[in-house]
C-alpha cells in the first residue's frame, strides 16, 4: 500500500518535472536536488500511517464537499413533513421507526421537518468546506503580508502593527468572532441585494437557492468574522521568523545586488519562513471548520433551512436526548472532518521538517540504498 502511494507521488512529481522541462528547457537539471527532496517527502509521507488515514479522510471530505449537494437525495429546502401528512407524525425518526415503505429510506434518520439527515450532512459538508477554505485563503495571506512587513521594516511600522495584533489577540477568538458575526450581516445583506454578480457567485458556491439571501449574508458574516480573528496569529509567527531570517547572509547578498525591497521580501525571505505555515494551515482548516460550526451552533450563522452542520446540531438540541441522531450525525461529520485535517497536519509536520526527514533518509539509505533521483540527466 505504502509503496503504491509512493510510486503514485513519484509519477506525479516526474510529470511535473517533464512539464516544467517543456516550458523551461533544462529545468529539471537545475532543480534535480529539489526533485529528489520532493521524492523524499513523498517517501516519508507514504510511510506514515496517520498521514495516509488523514489524507484519505480529507480527500473524501473534499470530494463530498464538491459533489455533495448534487448527490443528496433531497434538496435541503424541501420539507416532506409539510407535504405528506403521514410523515408528520413520524418526524423526527430513525429507520426502524421510519415509514418502512417510503421510496428512499432515510438511512441516518430525519429531522423535525422530515428532511433526510444524510442529505443535509452531504450539503453541510459543502458549506463547511467553502467556509474553511475561504477563511484560510483570506486570513493566512493577510497575516503573512502584515507579518512580513512588520518584521522586515521594524521600527515604528513594527510597533504599530504589533500593537494592533495585540488588540486582536486580546479578545478570545470565539468571543471576537461572535461580536463581528452579529453586526456584519446587515452590511452584507445590502451588498447582496444590490450586487447581482456577488450574489450569484456565493449562492452557487454554497449551492443555496435564491430565497436564502439573508442566510447567505450571515454565512458571509461568519466567514468575514473568522478572517478577522485568523490573521493575527500568522502575523506574529511570520514576524518572528522574519526577524531571524533577515539577519542572514543571503538576504544581505540579495540586498547588495540591488534587488527591490519587494523582490527581497517575496522571493528570498518568504520561501524561508513558509514551511511552518503550511503545517499550521492544515491544522487551521480543521479549526476553522469547528469554529464556524460553533458560531452557527450559538445561533449566529445561517438560520433555517440552511443545513450548516453546527446549526443542525443546535436544532437537534430541542429533541435531545430522545432523538439523539439529529445531534450526533452532523456532529460526527464535523469530528471526522477535523480529525482528517489534524491527522494530515500531524504527519505533514514530520514530513516537512528537514530534520526528521533527514533522519528518515539515513535510516532508509542504510537499509536499502534507495535512490531518490530518478530524472535522468541528458
Amino acid at each position: 500500500m505504502a509503496e503504491v502511494i509512493y510510486r503514485g507521488f513519484c509519477i506525479i512529481i516526474d510529470t511535473i518535472a517533464k512539464l516544467m522541462d517543456k516550458i523551461r528547457p533544462g529545468w529539471s537539471d537545475r532543480n534535480s536536488s529539489r526533485i529528489s527532496e520532493w521524492k523524499l517527502m513523498a517517501y516519508a509521507y507514504s510511510r506514515s500511517a496517520i498521514g495516509i488515514v488523514g489524507g484519505v479522510l480529507v480527500s473524501i471530505f473534499v470530494i463530498i464537499g464538491i459533489i455533495g449537494p448534487y448527490i443528496a437525495f433531497e434538496r435541503y429546502n424541501e420539507f416532506p413533513a409539510s407535504v405528506n401528512p403521514d410523515l408528520y407524525f413520524l418526524r423526527p425518526c430513525i429507520p426502524p421507526w421510519c415509514d418502512p415503505w417510503s421510496e428512499n429510506l432515510p438511512l441516518l434518520g430525519t429531522d423535525n421537518w422530515g428532511r433526510d439527515i444524510l442529505s443535509l450532512v452531504l450539503h453541510g459538508a459543502r458549506i463547511s468546506l467553502v467556509i474553511s477554505l475561504i477563511v484560510v485563503a483570506l486570513g493566512v495571506p493577510l497575516g503573512i503580508i502584515l507579518g512580513l512587513l512588520a518584521g522586515y521594516f521594524g521600527g515604528a511600522v513594527d510597533e504599530v502593527m504589533m500593537r494592533i495584533t495585540d488588540v486582536f489577540i486580546a479578545f478570545p477568538a470565539l468571543i471576537l468572532a461572535i461580536a463581528f458575526a452579529t453586526v456584519l450581516p446587515s452590511r452584507f445583506r445590502e451588498v447582496l441585494y444590490t450586487n447581482v454578480f456577488t450574489r450569484e457567485f456565493f449562492l452557487s458556491l454554497f449551492a443555496l437557492s435564491k430565497e436564502e439571501i439573508p442566510q447567505l449574508a450571515s454565512l458571509l458574516a461568519v466567514i468575514f468574522a473568522l478572517v478577522l480573528v485568523w490573521w493575527p496569529g500568522y502575523a506574529r509567527i511570520i514576524r518572528g521568523s522574519v526577524l531571524s531570517v533577515k539577519e542572514q547572509a543571503f538576504v544581505e547578498a540579495a540586498r547588495s545586488l540591488g534587488l527591490s525591497t519587494w523582490r527581497v521580501l517575496f522571493r528570498h525571505i518568504l520561501p524561508n519562513v513558509l514551511s511552518p505555515v503550511i503545517v499550521m494551515v492544515t491544522f487551521d482548516l480543521g479549526t476553522a471548520t469547528l469554529l464556524a460550526a460553533a458560531l452557527s451552533f450559538l445561533g449566529i450563522g445561517p438560520q433555517d433551512p440552511v443545513p450548516e452542520l453546527g446549526f443542525l446540531v443546535s436544532k437537534g438540541r430541542e429533541y435531545f436526548p430522545d432523538k439523539w441522531w439529529i445531534v450526533m450525525f452532523p456532529g460526527i461529520a464535523l469530528f471526522i472532518i477535523a480529525l482528517g485535517w489534524n491527522l494530515l497536519g500531524d504527519s505533514l509536520r514530520d514530513v516537512l521538517d528537514p530534520k526528521t526527514r533527514r533522519s528518515l533518509e539515513f535510516k532508509v539509505k542504510g537499509k536499502k540504498q534507495r535512490k531518490f533521483k530518478s530524472v535522468k540527466r541528458k
Binding site: 486580546a170 463581528f180 469547528l290 438540541r317
Partner: protein, 353 residues
C-alpha cells in the same frame, strides 16, 4: 533585562491594548452595523420611529464619531452601560454571573490537572508504548472533537443513561451565609475584601460558612462540565508535559545528576521541576481559554454564567449586553495572559524579554 524593567514594559503595553480593545468594541457597536439603532431595537421589524429617535439620542448615534467613542469609553470604564432588555446595568448582571463562570473554569482546571499531569508523566516514562500512543490519541481527539458534540455525548452517557448527575441550576449557599460573606470586609479589615470576593464563587462561599452539603451538591452538579472541559484540552497539555519532560531528561544536568549517583527519584524531581515551566504557562492560558470557551459549555450544560448571558444577548440582539460582555471577556482574558506572562518570568529566571 531585570525583572522590574520586564514588568514595567509588559504593563506599559497593557494600557494601549485596553484602549485598542475599546476602539475595536466601538467599531463593532457603532461603525460596522449598517443601521445600528434598527439592529439594537430588534432587526428588521416595524418599530415606532419615536422610540428609534430616543435610542439614537440616548446612545449618541446622532453625534460625531469622537463623541460616540468617548461616550462608549466612559460608559465601559465606569460601568454605566445599561442593558435595555432587563433595564439593569450590564456590569451588574455580568458581576453576578462571573463567579459562576470562574467556578466552572476551576472545575475544568481541576479535571485538566487530574487528566494531564499523570498522563504526561506516564507518557514520558514509557515512551513509544501504548500509554504514549493513548496520550497522542487523546490530544488528537480533543482538538478534533467539536466541543458541543462532546458535551452532548457526555450528557447522553452520564445524565440520560446512568443518571448520576443533574443539569439544572447552581447550588448556592444559604442567604445568611451570603450576607456573612458580603459583610466580611467590615469584620476583617484587609483580608476580608479578598475573602468577600472569593466568597462570591458559590462553592467557596459555602466552604467559608461550613455548609458542606452545598459543596457536595456543587461537586455533583459541576463535575460533568468540568470533566468535559478537562477532556478537551487534557491530551494537549499532557503532550506538552511529555515533550518538555523528555527534553529535560535528555539535558546535561540530568546526566550530571545521574553521574553523581543521585537516586532515580531525585533525578526525576530535578527534571520535573524544569519541565513544569512551559506547562504552567500553557495551564494559565488554558484557564483563560476556559473562561472564554464557557459560552458553549454554559449553553449546553445550562449553567447561568457569563457566557450564557452573552448567548442570551445574542439571541435577543441585545447589543449593549453583547458589547459589555465582549469587553469584559477581553479584559479578563488580557489580565489572565498578563498574569501568566509575569508568572513565567518569575519562575523561570532565564526568560526576560
Amino acid at each position: 533585562m531585570g525583572l522590574g524593567r520586564f514588568l514595567a514594559r509588559r504593563i506599559a503595553t497593557f494600557i494601549p491594548t485596553i484602549i485598542g480593545v475599546i476602539f475595536l468594541t466601538y467599531l463593532i457597536a457603532y461603525a460596522i452595523p449598517a443601521n445600528p439603532v434598527r439592529a439594537w431595537v430588534g432587526g428588521e421589524k416595524m418599530v415606532d420611529p419615536k422610540l428609534i429617535e430616543r435610542i439614537r439620542h440616548e446612545y449618541k448615534f446622532d453625534a460625531p464619531w469622537y463623541e460616540q467613542f468617548t461616550f462608549l469609553f466612559t460608559q465601559l470604564i465606569s460601568g454605566q452601560l445599561r442593558d435595555p432588555v432587563r433595564g439593569k446595568l450590564v456590569i451588574v448582571s455580568l458581576g453576578e454571573r462571573f463567579p459562576i463562570t470562574v467556578e466552572l473554569a476551576l472545575f475544568g482546571m481541576m479535571f485538566l490537572l487530574i487528566i494531564s499531569i499523570p498522563l504526561g508523566i506516564a507518557a514520558a516514562l514509557k515512551k513509544d508504548t501504548p500509554i504514549d500512543f493513548a496520550v497522542r490519541f487523546l490530544a488528537l481527539f480533543g482538538s478534533s472533537m467539536p466541543s458541543f458534540v462532546l458535551y452532548y455525548l457526555l450528557i447522553l452517557a452520564f445524565f440520560t443513561v446512568l443518571g448520576i448527575t443533574y443539569l439544572a441550576g447552581i447550588p448556592e449557599p444559604s442567604r445568611p451565609c451570603r450576607l456573612f460573606v458580603s459583610n466580611l470586609p467590615n469584620v476583617v479589615p484587609v483580608v476580608g475584601y479578598l475573602g468577600s470576593y472569593i466568597g462570591k464563587i458559590p462553592m467557596f462561599g459555602a466552604m467559608m460558612c461550613g455548609e458542606w452539603s452545598v459543596v457536595h451538591e456543587t461537586f455533583k452538579r459541576m463535575w460533568l462540565p468540568g470533566l468535559a472541559l478537562g477532556l478537551l484540552s487534557g491530551g494537549f497539555v499532557a503532550r506538552i508535559l511529555r515533550n518538555s519532560l523528555l527534553d529535560a531528561l535528555g539535558s546535561e544536568y540530568v546526566l550530571f545528576a545521574r553521574a553523581r549517583g543521585l537516586s532515580k527519584f531525585r533525578v526525576w524531581k530535578h527534571a520535573l521541576k524544569n519541565a513544569m515551566i512551559p506547562v504552567v504557562t500553557v495551564l494559565g492560558l488554558q484557564f483563560g481559554g476556559f473562561l472564554a470557551g464557557a459560552i458553549i459549555a454554559e449553553t449546553v450544560f445550562g449553567i447561568p454564567g457569563m457566557g450564557r448571558y452573552v448567548y442570551d444577548a445574542i439571541s435577543r440582539l441585545n447589543f449593549p449586553a453583547i458589547i459589555g460582555g465582549t469587553f469584559l471577556f477581553a479584559i479578563v482574558y488580557v489580565t489572565v495572559n498578563l498574569i501568566v506572562d509575569i508568572l513565567y518570568a518569575v519562575i523561570d529566571p532565564r526568560v526576560r524579554y
